[in-house]
Symmetry: C2
Subunit: 451 residues, 2 copies
């Protein structure tokens, strides 16, 4: 297929066809599109138009489209356009993990009505089971749909089991092997099933040395394991070792992408999950907290400057170097903290001790501080302010050392406190280091200029 790209022209054609009720054209277009592309298309239409188009889909394709719409958009779309009966019709066909995601977007009342209306009672049970888990642990990422067999069964019984579950389990990858108490014993890959003789016993071919996780494992750790061991699915067990579900790689890829976007937003000082196409209010609200914190930090810096009014009025040129102290502090702080945050996120390999970390980072700071110091020192001479040479050089070196120290310990402390250390690679560290940079500068000026 040609890659789908949503253009303005195409969108207008669809809108026109919807308004003219041109079913022939719409049905043929919908036939050609994959569910994720239809989801993108619906997002660009207004509610009633989107609903008209959506209702042209067969229930099964409709369910796939619905499971591909972004959470916020879906919440609004369903609220405005769907009855509980309609919701239930589609959720009935969802994978259990996607069903829980959709239901968690709804009010409790609607959630319970939909669960009560589900035709597939196994699906209802699955959903109720999964609702207990927080969103970002293994339990919250898993789906209940999987194929399982006993060690005593044969390969042809595996095939029969796959056939029975064929509609429920879209991607099989492997058959899970359990004992009579549902404890996970191992897996048989689809490839092994294809290649083995029909009457071979599972116990003779299954792989017992497998990677699995507990329901409480964090999403980040699950992603890490699946990436490390190149897994396309990972089984999830409870504390007794009983097989509860599995997590598939597509959900983990989504998880990794979302986390990466979140980290970048944290670094950029944006709260919540804003996107360019959100409303002006949402965007303004997402930005204001860090702007206010940054402003407060800068106003504290203003108070520091004001308290050194005496020196400043005698050596006016001191004002010239306020920007370099603030920005160097901020830049060094971010550089340092982001490397620490990155190495905290990597769980493989040996971790360094605090002493090793600090001594290394302070050495790096010393090298860079001297380079920046010499650069700024030369400028001081060029612009004819030689009396400020030592003030600027020593201040810059101190600022680089202090900012490196702060950039190292802040994420480590946050991590120890159970707070996402990525916060320390954003405006927080810039603001703190701006302030520290400027205070250090004036304090050193005060000491060296003997005024």
């Amino acid at each position: 297929m040609a890659t789908f790209e949503l253009t303005k022209d195409y969108l207008e054609k669809i809108e026109e066809a919807v308004s003219k009720n041109d079913l022939v054209f719409l049905n043929s277009e919908l036939d050609d599109l994959y569910p994720p592309d239809i989801a993108s298309l619906l997002f660009e239409l207004n509610g009633p138009e989107a609903h008209t188009l959506f209702q042209l889909l067969e229930t099964e394709k409709g369910a796939e489209v619905l499971s591909n719409i972004d959470s916020d958009d879906r919440k609004r779309f369903i609220k405005e356009q769907f009855t509980v009966e309609e919701i239930a019709k589609y959720v009935n066909l969802f994978d259990s993990d996607d069903a829980v995601d959709l239901l968690n977007e709804q009010s409790i009342v609607i959630r319970e009505k939909v669960i009560a209306l589900l035709e597939d009672r196994e699906q209802a049970r699955f959903i109720i089971d999964l609702m207990h888990y927080p969103e970002d642990v293994a339990g919250g990422l898993m789906q209940k749909e999987l194929v399982k067999v006993f060690t005593t069964q044969t390969v042809s019984e595996c095939v029969e089991e796959i056939r029975l579950q064929a509609e429920n389990v879209d991607k099989v990858y492997a058959v899970y092997v359990v004992d009579e108490e549902q404890r996970l014993k191992g897996i048989v890959s689809l490839k092994q099933i294809v290649l083995a003789r029909k009457n071979t016993k599972v116990e003779n071919i299954f792989e017992d040395d497998i990677v699995f996780v507990d329901t409480t494992k964090s999403g980040a750790e699950v992603a890490d394991l699946m990436q490390r061991y190149d897994l396309e699915a990972i089984p999830v067990v409870n504390s007794l070792g009983r097989l509860l579900g599995r997590i598939t790689i597509d959900d983990v890829v989504d998880f990794i992408t979302e986390k990466a976007e979140e980290d970048i937003q944290v670094m950029a000082g944006i709260t919540g999950e804003a996107e360019e196409d959100d409303s002006v209010w949402v965007l303004a609200k997402a930005r204001i907290p860090w702007l206010v914190i940054g402003a407060i930090g800068s106003l504290l810096a203003a108070s520091v400057i004001s308290s050194f009014e005496g020196i400043l009025s005698k050596v006016g040129a001191l004002a010239m170097f306020i920007p370099i102290m603030g920005s160097t502090g901020g830049n060094v702080g971010i550089q340092t903290s982001s490397l620490i945050v990155q190495s905290l996120a990597e769980r493989s390999g040996l971790t360094m001790s605090l002493g090793e970390r600090l001594s290394k980072i302070l050495l790096v700071a010393l090298i860079n501080g001297i380079i920046i110091g010499v650069l700024a020192g030369s400028y001081v001479y060029i612009v004819g302010q030689p009396q400020l040479f030592w003030v600027v050089c020593i201040s810059l070196l101190s600022v680089v050392l202090l900012a490196s120290f702060m950039g190292t310990i802040t994420p480590l402390i946050l991590d120890k406190m159970g707070i996402n250390p990525a916060i320390a690679s954003g405006p927080f560290i810039t603001t703190a280091n701006d302030l520290i940079g400027i205070s250090t500068y004036f304090f050193i000026a005060y000491l060296l200029l003997h005024l």
Copy 2:
């Protein structure tokens, strides 16, 4: 299996066993560990120790371990410890894409010797084919190993084909269907093969509506497609539609993670791919470019301040608000540009026109500029500098508007020029906006204070 964690104690035990040549202990430990974990372990040992341990592995497991070592570490390890014959022995068993990665780390001489020494001549041909492609396009990400059949074959012939390729193709997922000229026609999933009757013709069951890519497709677009359509493998064709290879999800997950780390480093102002455990020199070198650029920007700001020396000497309190102008400009610039960069990276959905983008962003800026302006304005009154009220308020509002404008157009321009727009969400935009903020402030002070 219990999740592997590399501790200092464990490492010491291994080091001791290596020095004592305690083969019983080492072999039993290596037996228990997965290849990626052995790779982590080797990284912590010194070269000769690592080589001793590595040689205890069977060739096949050794090949898997070697394909799991990070590029830089592997390059050094191989250079110091391996003969070309040894390299060839392991590369012989690699997937073709991993083999190319390893060989690209070596000098041309070694690369050619290794290829000449490969026992598996098909592998040698595969490698030579793949070497033509740049690293980050579909051709550079694909592997040649796959199972393919003709439409005229039967399901049992598919199984036979899978059996023949079982050693070469670790993860099968699906069988690709081609015509006599090797043009891709569709796929048959492993699940379909398991469930179909043995004598069914491929032409009766294969899926012809599939997603594939050209060799020139960028890695980011491949990742996007595989994520969008939940694919665990995507076939790669040439311009004639002939099937050349496939890209598997594990490689795409690695690609996504690396890109995310790169974006964060770009934002943090770190050049190259530094990690906390790199040497002091590497770390210092990775940081200095942006520190120098930041320092130059700040020294330009110093020159701006110095050119307004006249006003500053009359109204010394002006110095107090230098930090807030710089940091607000920087913060707003990063917030704006990172949202633009993010929406440039998302290829689905409709893109906004420049006019729509700017009008929305300037509205957001107006709201936030007024809030920050009022906050700083109140501070101006509290510290008893009412003559600066309008200067500070109007300057802040202008700075927020200007920084938003810059934060919007810079990534768009970079993107148009084919440069990674993420650069605009790093120190570049902070430095530029620091400078713009301070210049605006002094210019407005000059206009309003009539000095």
